[in-house]
């Protein structure tokens, strides 16, 4: 027991020390990057940003400086070995940073260091103290906290003595560290090494690798934190892009899986579907996937959800990758859903883009930005699958992106509704996006072909956290929107459409026939009963007659006997028989008779 308590206090002490132990970080202000690195670059240390030509190294550095000067009150020094300060300023303006203004405000110093080999001859020993002095004086002039060295490896092209250069660069990085400035050093990717001249071995605290790849004609930029000494960091490759507001690294969040969930339910807008989901619809904040072949009514389902959401007064965001807003409005009007009124009210925003206009990550940023500005309660992505064309063959990218979208939505507590087009040949259950495991509710729309017609059926493939119906329902598109009908399941399979109607008719026929038959039977039995009753009456009458007859006969008998006795007495009287002797005699006669 004592041992355990000791352990306990020991652990407590360690954990209380932890905040001090964590590396102080310097926020870059670059969207998403600080999340990946849990706070930014290591403060007071040099970091290496490397990558191929045109991958955005310089922009990363410039943004690091500009944001530091603008937002964090940390002046910066930019030592450029490749571009003149005018060029840099011009490039930065396209990202919304006015370097010249920052320079005028004494928040930034840009120094262009240039070496022309043709001008220079080397003789004897030298060092790069001049470089140190220049950087040092620039830092001191404005009290800089941040330094960007944009490709110091360019010096290797200007100076012959590689040994001196290496040792001087190493000294430079250590010197920067001693000065306590947070430095970003860029390096061009070499063959097999991170930088052309291997300076990564001198900058070992934090290495970030930038990359851009061409896939199916669409460029995707990626970033990876290769190494971050003394700190946790996201280890994945994150897509990033260079937009009008600088660099955005995505995802903004995806390191945790701890979003709050809601027990609240929201209607799908289709009463039949709500019924299938415990009669209460989807969970708020869940992600819903509707997959189906072409023309199965995915968009219509989305429109229903949008309509129901807006009717509650909640904002809705609709990403369409196939139809223009007008087209959606028109088509949905045809099934009796008027979405235009919600747009007028400002509740619904439809964002239509071609999936191929730009790479996936830009779509993702678009989504993020719109999520920020509109703060919707429900987001529809229709269809997710068409983003495939943006992803090229690499579907794992798309899966990744969808994961990030879902992640983001869950964090915001926003309900996500995704549609996915299943191509005919595929098994319906295997979405080519492999995202089925990511979604909470998966509805499947299918075409059933029979008797020369095609009918839609819907079923709930899965729905986490609820006892959903396992029934197959027929999906009807009427003038008043989508209706769900119970589909017939028989030995011959599922009956839909006219087959279902025929079946219904047949059932009605059957029913009336049975009814008729039973009525007939009832009547017949009634008749039989009545006949039996009549018979009973007749017999009854017969019985009564017989009884009457019997009675009459008995009365007759008695009368006859009385009259016989009277005759005998009359005869005895007439024969003057002794009354005393006469009396027993008729008795014996009687007995003898």
């Amino acid at each position: 027991m004592a041992y355990f308590s000791k352990m306990h206090t020991k652990q407590k002490r360690i954990s209380s020390q932890q905040p001090e132990r964590t590396l102080p970080k310097c926020p870059t202000g670059i969207t998403g990057f600080d999340e990946i690195t849990l706070g930014g670059l290591p403060r007071g240390r040099p970091s290496l940003i490397c990558g191929g030509a045109g991958c955005g190294k310089t922009l990363f550095g410039i943004e690091f400086l500009a944001r530091g000067a603008q937002d964090f009150g940390e002046p910066g020094v930019c030592i450029s070995f490749e571009e003149t300060s005018d060029d840099l300023a011009q490039n930065a303006i396209s990202l919304g940073f006015d370097l010249k203004a920052l320079e005028r405000a004494n928040k930034l110093v840009v120094d262009y260091i240039h070496i022309d080999k043709s001008e220079i001859a080397e003789t004897g020993e030298y060092d790069l103290e001049g470089l140190f002095i220049r950087i040092g004086s620039a830092i001191d002039s404005i009290g800089a906290k941040r330094v960007l060295l944009d490709t110091p490896e360019a010096l290797f092209g200007g100076l012959n003595d590689e040994g001196v250069l290496r040792s001087e660069l190493r000294r430079l990085f250590r010197w920067l560290k001693d000065k306590g400035v947070t430095a970003v050093i860029t390096g061009e990717k070499g063959e097999g090494t991170l930088t052309r001249h291997g300076i990564e071995e001198y900058v070992s605290d934090c290495v970030v690798l930038l990359d851009h790849r061409l896939q199916s004609g669409v460029v995707t930029r990626r970033m990876r934190v290769l190494k971050y000494r003394g700190s946790m960091h996201g280890t994945n490759e994150y897509p990033f892009l260079i937009g009008q507001k600088g660099i955005s690294v995505l995802p903004v969040t995806s390191l945790g899986l701890n979003h709050k969930i809601s027990d609240e339910r929201i209607s799908s807008g289709i009463s039949g579907l709500d019924e299938m989901l415990e009669g209460r619809g989807f969970y708020r904040g869940s992600s819903i996937l509707v997959s189906g072949t072409a023309g199965t009514g995915k968009t219509s389902m989305a429109a229903h959800l949008v309509d129901a959401t807006c009717a509650r007064g909640e904002a809705c965001l609709y990403f369409s990758f196939e139809e223009s807003p007008d087209q959606i409005l028109r088509n949905m009007r045809s099934i009796g859903i008027d979405l235009a009124r919600w747009i007028k009210k400002g509740l619904l925003h439809i964002h239509s883009t071609r999936p191929t206009t730009h790479g996936l990550e830009l779509h993702l940023v678009d989504m993020h930005n719109l999520l920020e500005s509109h703060k919707p309660k429900v987001v529809v992505v229709d269809p997710l699958s068409s983003l495939m064309s943006g992803a090229g063959e690499n579907t794992s990218d798309l899966t990744n992106m969808v994961l990030r979208v879902i992640d983001r939505l869950k964090q915001l507590g926003t309900t996500g509704f995704f549609t996915s087009l299943t191509s005919g040949g595929h098994a319906a259950e295997a979405t080519e996006l492999n995202i089925s495991s990511l979604v909470d509710t998966w509805l499947l729309l299918r075409d059933l072909e029979s008797d020369g017609e095609r009918n839609r059926v819907l079923y709930v493939l899965k729905s986490r956290g609820m006892a959903h119906s396992n029934q197959l329902r027929e999906f009807l598109m009427t003038k008043n929107g989508v209706e769900l009908r119970e589909a017939y399941l028989g030995p011959a399979g599922v009956l839909t459409g006219s087959a279902r109607l025929a079946q219904e008719l047949r059932e009605r026929d059957d029913e009336s026939r049975v009814k008729r038959e039973s009525e007939d039977r009832r009547l017949a039995l009634g008749r039989k009963l009545r006949a039996a009753e009549a018979q009973i009456l007749a017999l009854e009458a017969e019985k009564e007659a017989a009884e009457l007859e019997l009675k009459t006969a008995e009365i007759e008998n008695a009368r006859r006997r009385d009259s016989a006795l009277a005759q005998r007495a009359e005869m005895a009287r007439s024969r003057k028989v002794n009354s005393s002797s006469k009396a027993p005699r008729p008795k014996t006669q009687e007995a003898g008779a």
Binding site: T123, G124, Y126
Partner: protein, 101 residues
Amino acid sequence: MAAKRETSTIPEYDLRLYVAGQTPRSVQAFANLTKICEEHLAGRYRIQVIDLLEHPQLAKGDQILAIPTLVRTLPEPIRKIIGDLSNKERVLVGLDLRVTV
């Protein structure tokens, strides 16, 4: 700034030697330079020694990185020689003096 004028008029050779403090290497470079100039350019040159520790802002103008650096501003074009100037032959080539001599 320690400027050393050999002639009062504008010299044919205008040289600047950038150093950072009185390091042995800088002193060595200055000595080597003076020696070469006296041998080959007597009366035709001027040497300015610029100590960047005192005037760091001057490093920017001539794009000085390495110390010591000798800059020949005249005659045109500008030439730069870095190092302690210990190799006399290379200094002469660097200053374009090989042809004239």
